[in-house]
Point group: C2
Chain length 493, copies 2
């Protein structure tokens, strides 16, 4: 976004093999495209400059529009949670307490009466209030969400967006009069993930019911979407949790039902971590020349580069401004790059930044009333009549998003490989793929086999598929019992 020293700055020609050297690719693109600055000086906390923040903001807006359409309303709870709230649900506190940032002091040494946690997730902030807000069956369904920062002290090495100590998410917290309605909400959350993450963001996912030993602390069941990163590790994108009435019992969320009896409510929560999805999205769509942002998500959908020759400079700029204004009025996000760098420099810069469409216009275009349109995904140019430009930008935008999406989907599909024996699983993981395997059970009894797998092969059971039906066949490669399930095994973040 900065025009400083453009001509001198050679770094703008990005060229790193994403497949061969993903960690370098990722670190460099975060730096050069100004997505995150790791020099802030606090482990796991990074400033997000405009290019990443604006993209995430659009991602949030797309997701919030869908949530609102499904009758969720936004709200905002405090960033801090009193210690006593966190302590109310035993499994939950056990799951999160090692990761909590604590505030115990204000000003010059004054002690707080009660320590405050920076929210690692907000169940324990919100549910005591739900206990006051919900009195009768008429108050439900209560569907609320908030967009906020979340704080977890990750012990592993951190990486911008993918594993930070502060990340940005939406958390939706819902209350129902019956367990059936809660389960229906979980299914709706899965549909939202499909529509938004796979559809709008173009990030393909496999949707799993997690194993009993890998669910949300304190909940009944967790359903989560995984995608595969270029380094062959899967990463969890949104997860949704059927909390049963466990949290209602811990936080006293009760109501009078239609029969006038006081009963506990049923709860669900859904947590799309948009900053993490952003990290996955740029990794999956990017190529060796830098970012490739979806048309729907890019802060600038179109960048206009005037081809200025001294004698025609004014006319060309005027012509470009006309194009800018036409596209702006049509609702596109357009940026006219009129800084003093060369067109070649600008091409490289905006290709690295991932802007999906570039329009080039010079003296010859004025004569013919045309412009050259370049698409970042295929790196192809075409000359377009100005009268057609608006329509063409719109249709190219749709096409770019479809192309990015289907390239990513094909890649993910090819990564799933059937395996029946431990050796096969090991081979598949070694090849940075996902093993599809018969398995004894994802109930707690299966944990021993999962631990054997982890010790000997290093992989992790991601769960059973929710988005397709699968019939178990064969035996568990670890205990030899008849397989009750088909599970997916991968290395993970």
């Amino acid at each position: 976004m900065s025009n400083s020293d453009k001509k001198e700055d050679a770094q703008v020609i990005f060229n790193i093999s994403k497949e061969k050297n993903f960690p370098d690719w990722y670190g460099e693109i975060c730096r050069v495209a100004e997505l995150a600055d790791i020099r802030y000086g606090v482990k796991g906390f990074t400033p997000f400059p405009p290019w990443s923040y604006m993209t995430m903001d659009i991602m949030f807006n797309v997701l919030e529009t869908v949530l609102k359409r499904k009758r969720h309303l936004p709200m905002l709870f405090p960033t801090v949670i009193p210690e006593s709230n966190l302590m109310k649900e035993a499994q939950h506190v056990e799951g999160f307490s090692p990761q909590v940032f604590w505030i115990k002091e204000i000003g010059d040494g004054e002690k707080l009466e009660e320590p405050l946690a920076l929210r690692p997730t907000s169940e324990t902030a919100i549910y005591p209030m739900y206990s006051l807000w919900i009195r009768s069956w008429r108050d439900m369904p209560l569907k609320r969400y908030q967009r906020c920062s979340i704080f977890r002290s990750e012990v592993k090495s951190t990486r911008p967006f993918l594993r930070g100590r502060e990340f940005l998410w939406i958390e939706s917290h819902n209350v129902f009069a019956t367990h059936d309605e809660a389960i229906a909400q979980v299914m709706e959350d899965i549909e939202i993930t499909k529509d938004v993450v796979m559809g709008d963001y173009g990030v393909p996912v496999l949707i799993f019911k997690r194993t009993q030993w890998d669910k949300f602390p304190g909940g009944l069941n967790t359903y989560a979407a995984d995608t595969m990163m270029p380094d062959g590790k899967v990463i969890q994108l949104p997860s949704t949790h059927d909390l049963g009435d466990n949290f209602a019992r811990a936080f006293d969320v009760k109501f009078l039902n239609e029969q006038n009896e006081t009963v506990y409510a049923w709860q669900t929560c859904y947590g799309p971590a948009v900053s993490r999805i952003f990290g996955a999205m740029i990794s999956i769509h990017g190529d060796d020349k830098g970012l490739r942002l979806p048309f729907k998500l890019s802060p600038y959908q179109v960048v206009i580069v005037p081809i200025l020759k001294d004698k025609d400079a004014d006319d060309v700029l005027k012509y470009c401004r006309k194009i800018e204004s036409t596209l702006n009025k049509a609702g596109f996000r357009v940026h006219l790059d009129d800084c003093d760098a060369t067109p070649g420099w600008k091409y490289n810069y905006w290709e690295m930044k991932g802007v999906p469409l570039r329009i080039e216009a010079g003296p010859r275009d004025i004569k013919k009333n045309t412009a050259v349109v370049f698409r970042r995904d295929t790196m192809k140019r075409a000359t377009v009549d100005l009268k057609e430009l608006k329509k063409r930008v719109a249709s190219l935008g749709v096409d770019i998003d479809q192309t990015l999406r289907s390239q990513a989907e094909t890649k993910l599909e090819d990564l799933v490989v059937d395996a029946e024996r431990e050796g096969e699983i090991a081979d598949i993981l070694e090849k940075r793929k996902i093993a599809r395997t018969p398995f004894c059970t994802t109930e707690m009894e299966g944990l021993a086999c999962a631990e054997e797998l982890k010790d000997r092969v290093g992989g992790e059971i991601r769960g059973t598929r929710m988005d397709i039906e699968e019939v178990p066949e064969g035996i568990c490669p670890f205990c030899g019992k008849v397989a009750k399930e088909i599970v997916y095994i991968a290395r993970s973040y």
Copy 2:
């Protein structure tokens, strides 16, 4: 927003005199209209339910649209600031350190290497990064802002929105190559305040240059907007600061100028606290029956109440849905209240919530193809032909906002009263008004007089007007010297 027990819940008929008993009015409207829940259990931290959050979200969007038009770009910095950053500017740390929430511990007792502050404002987070981002004059003007939570441990008693320990704001941080450009930015910020706070929010303000003893810690000059609350105390709404090159020197924000010399940059910052402006906005526009939200800001601009008679119920609902869909498509935020409460209950409920327009439609309206439109500001009804409805809603919306704005402006203008002697000032403040007084000087030498005023009268000097020109005349009522300035004196939050 909840439909629970509507028929039983008599509290929906709000009736408290705002002028006679503002603290009660404010506390009760926050509770009954579900704006903030003070039962969260941590002093100064309150959840914001949908009705207040959605309104503030719209307020943010209006403001951000203007900032973006003025070429500010959004970004986001971490919520935490390392202690050593805070310490770099001596006056700044002195100004803020008593209010800082400190994180020194994570998990089960692990000490952090360096304490982290929850940001009380972000200069000390952002400027060390600006020091790395800015190298040449070509990098400027650098105009960036973030929307975030801010944390200050207020010692006084807290009140939702008006004085909390966590509040929501936008902070804009800008860097320029010259002091003149920085000053021009401060003037632009003042224009934004006028356009957005006075224009879009309808909250009238007086714009002051603050005295030298009341400026932003570490800055050169502070310019701030004040409005008057119904209890006769003024409250600071946005402030903008000319930081000079003080922070650039402390945080090493240097650049190569066009003459190839390394020099310090000039900085400004601007901090509209939207949650606080929300508190002022509802206080100023509200009346004894509850909220009166501007059409531009209300989460629901129009609520539709069907007048259902058993035999025509289906037809009426269908008719109302048609109205809903027509207005929705026209871009209005519409809510059809089809819950099972009586029309009278719904009228009271949505009047208390401040929805600017209500549409009532029953069997008689179907026959005549009309609807009844009620406006909350004047409490007046009119029958409108359905063909005219879209146009009428749009024009009533504009009219409501103008009415609220001009009512508030007239009230504020009437509150400013000239005074020349201490006794007059005391009388004016006693009457909950603002005294306009000749004063020796707002440079540091005037502090003694300001302290005398505070001790004896209890008022505070808000500064000299920036939005109008005023010629000083007369003598300072405290030291008797020739007045160099006209100042405004009021009791304040």
